[in-house]
Amino acid sequence: MTMRALDRLRMIARSWLRSRHADDELGEELRFHLERETEANVAAGLAPADARRAALLSLGSVEGIKEVSRDRRPGAWARRAGRDAAYGARLLGRAPAFAAAAILIVALGVGSVTAIFSVVYGVVLRPLPYADPDRLVAVWARAPRLRLPRALVGAADAREWQRGSRAFEAVALARPIANFNLTGDGGEPERLLASRVSPRLFDVLGVKPALGRTFLPGEDEAGHDGVVLLSHGLWKRRFGGDASIVGRTISLSGAPHTVVGVMRPDFQYPGREFQVWTPLTINPDELTRRETPFNYLAVARLRHGVDLRRAQSELDAFAARLEQAYPASNREVGFELAPLRDDSVRTVRPALYVLLGAVSCLLLVACLNLANLLGVRAAGRSREFAIRLALGASRGRLALQALAEVVPVLLIGGALGVAGAAWAVAAFVPVAPAGIPRLDGIGVNLPVLAFTTAMLTVTGLVAGLVPAAQAWQSDLAAATRESSRSTAGGRGQSAARDLLVVGQIALSVPLLVGTGLLARSFSALTRLDPGFRADGVLSAQMAIPRSKYREDRQVAAFCAQVLERVSALPGVTSAGMVNRLPLGGVGHVGSIEFENVDAGEARRPSGDWRTVSPGYFSTMGIPLREGRAFTEHDGEGSPLVGIVDERIARTLWPGQSALGHRFRIPFGDLPWVEIVGVVGHVRHDALDQDLRPQVYWPYRQRAQDRMVLVVRGDDARSLGSLVAGAVRSVDPEQPLYDVRTMDEVVERSLAQRWLNTALLAAFAAASLLLASVGVYGVVAFGVARRLREFGIRIALGAGRADLTRLVLGQGARLAAAGITAGLAGAALLSRAMESLVYGVGARDAASYALSAAALLGAAALASYLPARRAASVDPAVTLRCD
């Protein structure tokens, strides 16, 4: 705000305070004038009473003078607006049904838009809680050859930029997922999600710990890395917020780590679920470039004055140089920059923006609806306006007053809407899908309130425009000529009202089409075969500590023991293990080489690497297509075997058996394994994504330290504690985590989609309801106005069916016009929704047809009541009345 405006505000405020004082002064001055006048009249010979009367007459209205004087003081308009608003509030009080409807409409529109915007702001727009966050970027690798559009980066490449970059001030790496079992502190053993990070990370981000220190340079060297930072949440929950934790030693997967610090609550790199951070030690092998493991998240701070484009072109130069120097590892490997803030919300942003767009449509529908309502009311007051015009009120004054009457509606409705949004957001955050980042910052805060205020103002202006324009056009002659029955205004006003309704229907079209698209996508996904049978299966994750089970053989033996105990439990039909659960959110991906298969694209396809126990396929209901499943005999010393999915078998050996062919991981001299079986294809990443084929190894020949136990039983849900007990009986220090039925796992993978669909459906339903009310209002009004005409028609022999058709036709015409106009908006929205749609085209005809049908149906329903009224007119009564 400019100084000038501030000064003006201050002056008005002062004038408000002084106003009463000024009134008193003027009163005294006028009293004095009256006395002197009276004295003068007495001196001229009048009797005292007559003298005073003459003086009073000559002075005129004291209050009138005061009024004029008040109106001329600075800020008079503000006092007038306050008076108008108060008058508006009184009028509302006299029409409670109208007031309730108007307030409800405002609350609905503003509340929805506030709730969605608070999520958008909290998740997408809010600055990151780091120092100078605009200079932070994430760096990704791009390796189309490996079918990895967006991959983690290799340590060797990162070292190159760290050393040679002019654009970056500093680069830090993080290995996103590490699992630790926290034991030996007296509590239950617990698995912690950890990230291994460069000591430099905290400087790059510019964050300070809440307690203690962050990592020191050199703590990323083997032997010095026994230090750990705790998240604020873990510290509060597990260690009771005890500050003396700093300096103590805790046992992580059997290895002692000294707690050097506790981070602040808002430190959530790389995600909000991370609980501990340890230093990242990079294996010297990774810097040799024999093979580029894409292992690390990279975050960099740009130097002052360096923009994204310059940094990107520098990275492109790096990529070109590296490709030339190391063709084996860096062929077709590029690097990509993204602002760190955008990077963390990449997956949810399209959906949030679609929802924001949808809710804006709803707000506009509410605006138009309110405008319509206010217009009808203003029409009802056209006589009052005309009389006041005749008494000398200015048109501008009347229009302003009509606007000011909207203010109480906006204030009350806005307050209700904000309260509802705050409640909805608070209720939503704890149950929100796990995939939405930065959730804890969501709330109705100042920026959100500023946005809401802006929306309220827009609502007020749009909705207030109609009654203000009507007041402005008040016409004394017309108002007195028209009878009370037909105060609906002239042709222009009724056309304006039709336009408002058409607008509401048009804006509802994109919402309905969007809902149709999402709902049809959702139903396509739930009907989809994920490749396994989810019902009756319980899953539980384990991080098996290598510090305890050093050898692969020991890991396999531990797994075998767990499987044996779990299979023996009552109620358990079968049990198995896999290193990554389908739809579990974490993958394990790499290239695979097939023996004697032509070179080229297919030679080293990227596939899902899975290590499984023999019972895995039967427990998960993954069908065996050919050959055999693994057995407990596929172990050390026996021939190396593997299983591929049907997609590989079909692609590489069409029409032949895949059995007997061999594959391997194309790294060093890793051995070939022989295909002994072909199983069904499974959707691993997500139901709506199916990127890679799958290969399987038996757990005794390729052990993995992160395993998921799957158990099929009569009542999967109730098996949880039994299974945990069985695992504890093998190793009392081994925690289980994420214990869920497979049905829950599938549901969770769809949760965000479900939420989008449900929200959009709710907005569409609300706008459909509002638009129907709008149609009803206009049609009913038209019928009320034409009752006499209908009476005459009936008297002249028109059938009641004709009248019904006439009225229904009016509603249908409005709907048809609205739908036509809304198609453009729907096309726009469905283009924005392309990434959210699955299994149906974004131009899905059924969604469009259903939306149009829904709107037409709603319009017909809304016109039906007025149509009945029109058809049941008694000509005699109608002609007599009025």
């Binding site: 001055e29 006028l30 004095f32 006395e35 004295e39 005129g60 003078i65 004029v68 004087s69």
Partner: protein, 109 residues
């Protein structure tokens, strides 16, 4: 005495400023003085006097302060400011020009 003439909007300001230019005066006295000087032709309606006084005060051409009146009561006395004096000169020059012009037109017919 003929019917008192209605004052043209704008001339009220000029008359008030001219009146208080001589000495500080309260509202009633201003009205009286204008009436006397114009020999009962110009009757300043109180309904326009006080709003005019307030307007002039807000524009900074006159100031007011409370003082004792001739019959020893509290009254608000108005006085011309420096800016008001300049303004009065301008207005008067303008009025002279206008009335001179009107007179010239009337004489020729």
């Amino acid at each position: 005495m003929g019917k008192p003439t209605d004052l043209v909007q704008g001339t009220v300001d000029l008359l008030i400023m001219k009146t208080v230019a001589l000495q500080p005066m309260h509202g009633w006295a201003i009205a009286q003085r204008i009436r006397q000087l114009s020999k009962d032709v110009l009757l300043l309606q109180q309904g326009s006097l006080y709003p005019a006084l307030q307007r002039l005060e807000r524009q900074g051409w006159i100031t007011a302060e409370w003082g004792a009146s001739e019959n020893n009561r509290r009254a608000r006395f108005y006085r011309l400011t420096k800016a008001g004096r300049r303004r009065l000169e301008e207005e008067r020059a303008g009025w002279e020009r206008l009335s001179g012009a009107i007179r010239a037109v009337l004489r020729t017919t």
